[in-house]
């Protein structure tokens, strides 16, 4: 008996008992939908975490720090001086760049200086990075543009950077309305003179004119940052050191950059799933590395139990559906005993008989699965709608693998549930079967 005839015959048998078939399929629909929706909420939860973390920075970026700091040692329950391994210098940066899955690498230096706009100033934590890597590193520019490789005296200003009048007293600064400074169109300069704009201003310090080309979001960890090309910031750094040397003598000068070791390097990885492996490679080279995916892993770990419980709830309804398929098939065999006998006598092989019943069961599973997935998408949509209206971060997401997996699973459950009844049909004695009325 060929496959087409088998499917044809199985479908006819199912259609003959429409109501029963529909009810059985309904069971599978409920089973599939509950598993898929429960799993989708679990997935949505993780996606929610990821989105939440995204607002803190890119999940694809690894922060690399030099080793040799103080680290917590579990064995002795105390802080320990970590063994210094390798310098986080330009050579290390090049090594990172060669790694697989790495898209962009940028060393980071940070300086606290003033931004000036006319008579106003703003405290700024200025980050120097490779300007060409800015976009790749995941900075979200809200207005204007990100820095590009050609930029030199250009900056991108965080939306949270606030200007004030340096002539005002401290209390006044906090109580008065901050002045509206449109950084993108205003003439902006950078200075390391903390007395800029006041009577004590140091005339020997020339503010460096820069062009503000973009603005970062006012939310998230980068909101109060100013980003500029690392080369320019290094020049400023040097100028300040020389000025400090002149003013306070050589002993006081910062020796931070003497060794040319970076305090931080950012590594952008092509995909989130590769972050942990790249991070491990960097650690193996003897650097310290961390990323937001660490947090994500931790969050996933804490909700694992909850997701398991959700999955189990879905699984229970699938078990009920499986039992109902078995029941339907057993009933079908009782009703069709004589028919099975006739088919056997006129030449159906055991494989044909088994195949017929398995095909019927598989079809119940399959169609229940397909409808179940459609229903799941509907439920998922409603869950997200309600959650969004209530401002909850809970959401449901059905990726393709879950949808396909759901259908495959339901079909598998169908075949499994049909297996025993099919075996039973196969074993019926043709003669006794044909004698039944």
């Amino acid at each position: 008996m060929n496959t087409r005839d088998m499917i044809d015959m199985a479908l006819r048998n199912l259609l003959k008992r429409k109501i029963r078939t529909i009810l059985t399929i309904l069971g599978v629909v409920i089973g599939t939908a509950s598993i898929v929706v429960m799993v989708s909420i679990g997935i949505g939860m993780n996606k929610g975490f990821a989105q939440q973390l995204e607002s803190w920075g890119s999940l694809q970026v690894i922060n690399v720090y030099p080793s040799g700091g103080m680290v917590y040692d579990e064995a002795s329950d105390s802080m320990k001086q970590e063994k210094k391994q390798d310098e986080l210098n330009t050579k290390a940066v090049d090594t990172f760049r060669q790694m697989e899955h790495v898209e962009a690498v940028s060393p980071v230096i940070e300086e606290y200086m003033y931004l000036t706009a006319g008579k106003y100033v703003a405290d700024a934590s200025i980050m120097g990075i490779e300007p060409g890597a800015m976009e790749a590193l995941g900075y979200k520019v809200e207005e204007g543009r990100a820095l590009s490789a050609e930029d030199s005296k250009a900056i991108v200003v965080g939306g949270g950077v606030e200007f004030y009048d340096p002539k005002l007293s401290w209390e006044m600064r906090y109580t008065s309305e901050p002045p509206q400074v449109d950084v993108l169109n205003e003439k902006i300069s950078i200075t390391y003179d903390w007395n800029y704009g006041t009577r004590n201003a140091d005339k020997s310090i020339k503010p460096i004119k820069v062009d503000a080309v973009g603005k970062l979001s006012a939310e998230g960890s980068d909101s109060w940052r100013v980003i500029m090309p690392i080369k320019e910031l290094e020049k400023l750094q040097k100028a300040r050191q020389e000025w400090e040397q002149k003013k306070y003598g050589s002993n006081n000068s910062s020796n931070r950059n003497q060794s040319k070791e970076y305090q931080q390097v950012l590594v952008k990885v092509d995909e989130m799933d590769n972050v942990q492996s790249v991070q491990q490679q960097i650690k193996d080279l003897g650097f310290r590395a961390s990323s937001l995916t660490d947090e994500l892993e931790a969050m996933k770990e804490t909700t694992k139990m909850l997701r398991l419980v959700l999955g189990a709830i879905g699984a229970v309804s699938m078990v009920v559906a499986a039992i109902s398929i078995t029941n339907t098939m057993v009933m079908a065999i009782y009703e069709r005993t004589k028919e099975i006998g006739i088919m056997k006598v006129i030449g159906a092989s055991l494989k044909d008989i088994k195949g017929l019943f398995l095909t019927e069961a598989a079809f119940i599973g399959f169609s229940g699965g397909v409808i179940g997935i459609v229903v799941s998408f509907g439920i998922s949509f409603i869950v997200n709608l309600v959650a969004a209206r209530q401002g909850s971060t809970m959401q449901s997401a059905i990726p393709l693998w879950l949808a396909l997996g759901g259908v495959v699973f339901a079909t598998g459950v169908g075949i499994l549930s049909g297996y025993l009844p099919a075996k039973r049909a196969m074993k019926l004695s043709a003669l006794t079967a044909i004698k039944t009325e």
Binding site: N2, M343, I346
Partner: protein
């Protein structure tokens, strides 16, 4: 001399009913020849159906051998038996045994479906068979829309569609009136003779036994006598 297609040797079938054992077939040996119409005749309970079922491989003998050509039917497993029936055997039953949900045509194609014959070919062959039994305009009808005689014609078409070397019929006319009975017997023996097929037919009606080349008379599970037909049909003279 025709070749023996089926050879039965010292076959016994004993049903154990609690402490009582019923000897349904009690030491039967018989040769059935290629192309003959062989009638199993006897009173009710004499073991006709049991013997037929044993030969057809629907039941296993308690003792003895049943050979189809050189194959031991009694040694076949379920799969081999299914294969044997699919290839070599056709059945006609007293109660027609059509599948109630299938049309006449579909019922006739069923053995061909199990054999894996392509749709077009099997529909053509089934249609020819329906024509041969005079039911072509009933092809699309379901069994419950047909009379008993018509249903039995469909079942005869089904038994012969595959052109099996052997056709078994257990009281094929048991539910039919006299006129229809003769029509059916003419049809069934005519078909068998035309293609030189062997027909093993069970009946307790001596009138019908006239259609047979040989009559095997059973009594209490044993062969009482075997009568050979000497002259043409209707003269009823047996050795």
């Amino acid at each position: 001399m025709e070749e023996n297609i089926i050879r039965i040797r010292d076959v016994k079938k004993i049903y154990q009913m609690g402490s009582e054992s019923i000897r349904a077939i009690d030491g039967v040996s018989l040769n059935i020849r290629q192309g003959e119409v062989c009638c199993l005749f006897g009173k009710s309970g004499s073991g006709k159906s049991t013997l037929l079922n044993l030969i057809a491989g629907l039941e296993k003998p308690t003792e003895g051998k049943i050979l189809f050509h050189k194959k031991h039917i009694e040694r076949m497993d379920e799969d081999q038996l299914a294969n044997f029936r699919r290839q070599y055997v056709g059945f006609v039953f007293q109660s027609y045994n059509l599948l109630p949900t299938l049309t006449a045509l579909e019922n006739v194609t069923l053995p061909l479906i199990f054999k894996g014959v392509p749709v077009k070919e099997r529909n053509e062959r089934a249609m020819e068979m329906l024509k041969a039994v005079g039911l072509e305009e009933r092809a699309k009808h379901k069994p419950f829309e047909m009379s008993g005689g018509q249903q039995q014609r469909v079942s005869i078409a089904r038994a012969f569609v595959n052109e099996p070397p052997v056709v078994f019929a257990d009281e094929p006319t048991g539910n039919l009136d006299t006129k229809t009975t003769y029509e059916m017997m003419d049809l069934i023996t005519g078909m068998a003779k035309k293609n030189h097929q062997t027909l093993v037919i069970v009946t307790h009606d001596l009138e019908l036994a006239e259609y047979a080349d040989r009559i095997v008379v059973l009594q209490d599970g044993k062969i009482e006598k075997i009568q050979k037909k000497l002259r043409g049909k209707g003269e009823g003279i047996y050795e």
